[in-house]
């Protein structure tokens, strides 16, 4: 036990021998979590997509359109001048801009010449969503006018109007009626968020917090391979042969030390999530500990196996960062897994990051408890068992 502790302590001293290690241990993980979460507003802020509106018409119709957009669940209209809107759009600082030209009024609608313009950044999901919202708002504004126009046509098909004045009067009365019917229209869709055990509100920052935690903890754990390669290159592993320390003691000491450091790092990041981001990491401490520990063990085991295949420290460092980043991306740690094609979503189940992410989201996003994360924890332990076995079996001092 003393030897295991001594080896773990030695590794900690080696790792933190340079102050710059703190950059990767805590500074950069916090910076990335903060910045990436900054792109996803918290529940208290307005999560709708900003839609710049340049209203050059300033008529009842344009105001009505902006009013409809304000009730949208998808976009948040911000009225600005045309020059400002165009400049922000050109600088790609606005995803989408709605230009309402001068002269948009009832007469232009009746004459069929009314049009508005929507500027959208290419290949931009926000712009696509905003287009739907603008179409809906236009439809709501237009539908009453269309309905009145249709009513006029229906009336004309039965009995022609005596004069243009009578026709216009019928149109205006119909428009009034259509607007009343529209305003009195009941809600016909209700949205219920899936039941989570304690009704946790969806907070996209939870994804960021969990995803960055996994990314920044898995990379150094994969880096155990570099530790082995370094000791092998330096010949210190061979020296161990002359000491009474067994292979098992050395491996256990190295892995225990790295897993312990990973747990400290994870707890610091979880603490940041709880205290700064106000995320619900702390609801089920036991379940949290289980998922953190099993995740760390799975990553450490993978690093151990890598260490038995890789020859130089340089290779190990490069590969651990590459595997760490690719596994994180493909495991849904950077972007929600739902964005991947279904075949890829199934394929990435072979990655430990996928299960770690799933388990952490069960806790922090779905309000799950120990029972909910047991399947993920079991899979991660399975990864750990397989890769530790492989690593120990292939481990060589030279």
């Amino acid at each position: 036990m003393k030897k295991i502790f001594a080896i773990a302590w030695k590794d900690a001293i080696v790792r933190f021998g340079s102050v710059s290690e703190l950059l990767f241990f805590i500074v950069l993980p916090l910076l990335f979590t903060y910045l990436l979460a900054g792109g996803t507003p918290s529940g208290e802020e307005d999560p709708r997509i900003a839609l710049l509106v340049a209203d050059e018409a300033n008529t009842a119709i344009s105001q009505q359109m902006i009013g409809e957009l304000e009730t949208s669940t998808a976009v948040r209209p911000e009225v600005v001048s045309r020059d400002e809107a165009q400049s922000l759009f050109d600088d790609r600082r606005a995803d989408v801009v709605l230009l309402i030209p001068a002269g948009l009024d009832l007469a232009s609608i009746q004459s069929g010449s009314a049009e508005v313009e929507l500027l959208q950044q290419p290949n931009n999901m926000n712009a696509t969503v905003a287009e739907r919202a603008v179409s809906t708002a236009i439809r709501r504004v237009s539908s009453a006018i269309s309905a009145a126009g249709n009513a006029v046509q229906q009336r004309e098909s039965i009995e022609p109007f005596a004069s243009e004045a009578e026709r216009q009067s019928y149109f205006e009365a119909s428009l009034e009626r259509a607007r009343t019917i529209q305003q009195e229209a009941p809600e016909r869709v209700t949205v219920i968020e899936g039941i989570t055990e304690d009704q946790v509100e969806y907070d996209p920052r939870a994804n960021t917090s969990a995803g960055q935690l996994i990314t920044w903890v898995f990379i150094p754990l994969f880096g155990i391979s570099a530790l082995f390669a370094y000791e092998r290159q330096q010949g210190t592993l061979r020296r161990l042969l002359t000491t009474p320390a067994t292979k098992a003691t050395f491996l256990l000491g190295t892995i225990t030390g790295q897993v312990a450091m990973a747990l400290v790092q994870m707890l610091l990041l979880v603490g940041f999530g709880i205290l700064v981001m106000k995320l619900g990491w702390g609801r089920e401490p036991l379940a949290l500990f289980v998922i953190l520990l099993t995740s760390a063990l799975a990553a450490a085991a993978f690093g151990t196996t890598m260490g038995t295949f890789i020859k130089s420290e340089g290779q190990a460092s490069g590969l651990s960062v590459m595997f760490g980043m690719v596994f994180a991306l493909m495991g849904g740690c950077w972007y929600p897994l739902e964005l991947f094609p279904p075949a890829i979503q199934n394929a990435v189940k072979v990655l430990p990051t996928t299960w770690a992410m799933q388990g952490m989201l069960d806790l922090v996003l779905r309000g799950g408890g120990l029972l909910d994360i047991l399947p993920e924890a079991a899979v991660l332990l399975g990864f750990a068992a397989i890769f530790f076995s492989l690593g120990v079996w292939r481990f060589r001092y030279e």
Binding site: F24, L31, M65, A114, S143, R188, V189, P204, G314, L329
Partner: protein, 419 residues
């Protein structure tokens, strides 16, 4: 000049012989680009990355509108986006969502159609009472917010169209009744006919013109942003790796040997810088070429692309030299280089779009070659040519020159290039 080139080419060869470095310089950005391609839907042909969204349709209405909504989800138009399954059990459908088996359940209750289209024989006289609204329930999965949002948008749009038809019908009918041209007793059949024609009512009162319809509309390939984003991210690793070789030559004694040969310190330093620059150009060039060959990315104006790559690598080389000038050991360069690579990656837009950043961060991003480089690549992908790249190229060249100047001053002060 020849010596300068020889030193540069030697360093280029050394780096490309190091398999560990190649993994990081080429394989990692290439794999991450593939991953980004999946996320953005570039490889699946969708515009958002979302496809085959599993949705459960519970149609208990089994009438005209309920069936029409169910048909929308299984329509040809949404075939790639949606993967609907039918169910008649509300609880089972909700369970599928709770168990994360589907993104949302659309529950169309019994009587939905009748709550909108009047039943046969309904009188529109004074005794007419609007039927109680029957609401469609969209039961969403909180862990798949984007997919659930799409399902909700589809239902909203359908209901909006239905409502449009209802308003048109009700307006016409009540107008005709008030004018005495329609008997309230016969209004139901007339309303039904009107409603059924509702889909044919073209709502053209206000035209929405999108810039995609314009002649100048350009299909933007998202990989034309993602691939250089990753290449520029790992370029920072390359330039710091190159910087490390200066200190390595010093500690191994080959640098003093070079300096006692008839080669000036300026030639040695110039050669080292050239080596870093050539490596960076080769790295970004290979990644750009690979993206073209494997993914068919079209980069736009070729001359613009070449000059932009040269300028971006020049700017990044400046940073590499600055780190080298201030670092004392190779390990320090390694740590600082990796840290800078990641910081510049996130600040420069390699991980997330800069638009999502606070305005202060967007300003700060201008110190990174990543932000200027990506700016240039986006301009090219949107159809821009070399004259449109004046700003990013000038900024990158200025960045490289200033940083290189500072590095030379520090090198001289620290005596790194002395015999």
């Amino acid at each position: 000049m020849k010596k300068l080139f020889l030193i540069g080419i030697k360093d280029l060869k050394l780096i490309f012989r190091d398999r560990a470095a190649l993994v990081f310089m080429l394989l990692a950005p290439f794999l991450l680009t593939i991953g980004m391609g999946f996320v953005t839907g570039r490889f699946s042909g969708s515009s958002s990355g979302l496809s085959d969204i599993p949705v459960v349709i519970v149609n208990l209405d089994n009438e005209q509108l309920g069936n029409a909504l169910a048909d929308v989800f299984s329509s040809e138009e949404l075939a790639d986006l949606m993967e609907p399954t039918a169910s008649s059990d509300i609880e089972a459908a909700r369970r599928l969502i709770d168990e994360d088996e589907a993104a949302a359940a659309v529950i169309i209750p019994e009587g939905f159609t009748l709550s909108i289209i009047p039943a046969e024989g309904t009188s529109f006289g004074e005794s007419f009472v609007q039927p109680e609204p029957v609401k469609i329930e969209v039961y969403t999965n909180p862990s798949r917010p984007l997919s659930a949002g799409v399902v909700k948008a589809i239902v909203d749009e359908f209901v909006s169209r239905v409502e449009e038809g209802r308003i048109a019908g009700m307006t016409s009918i009540s107008g005709l009744i008030q004018s005495g041209l329609l008997d309230p007793q016969n209004a139901e059949s007339e309303a039904r006919a009107l409603f059924q024609n509702g889909n044919q009512i073209e709502n053209t009162a206000i035209t929405l013109r999108t810039n995609r319809e314009g002649a100048e509309a350009i299909e933007f390939d998202i990989l034309a942003y993602m691939a250089p984003g990753m290449a520029l991210l790992f370029l920072m690793y390359t330039v710091s790796y190159g910087g490390r070789s200066i200190l390595a030559e010093r500690s191994q004694g080959t640098l003093p040997r070079l300096l006692v040969s008839p080669t000036s310190a300026a030639q040695v330093l110039g050669g080292k810088v050239l080596g870093i620059f050539l490596t960076g150009v080769a790295q970004v060039g290979i990644l750009i070429l690979a993206s073209t060959l494997f993914f068919g990315v079209e980069w736009g104006d070729t001359l613009g692309v070449i000059i932009l790559i040269l300028a971006a690598v020049f700017g990044a080389t400046g940073w590499g030299m600055l780190i080298t000038a201030f670092a004392r050991t190779q390990a320090q360069i390694g740590s600082l280089g990796s840290a800078l690579m990641l910081i510049f990656g996130i600040l420069g837009g390699s991980f997330i779009n800069l638009e999502q950043m606070p305005s202060m961060m967007r300003t700060l991003s201008r110190i990174t070659p990543n932000a200027w480089g990506l700016d240039g690549f986006t301009t090219l992908a949107l159809g821009g040519t070399l004259p449109n790249l004046v700003e990013p190229i000038t900024a990158l060249l200025l960045m490289g020159t200033v940083l290189f100047g500072i590095a030379v001053v520090v090198f001289n002060r620290n005596g790194i290039m002395q015999k």
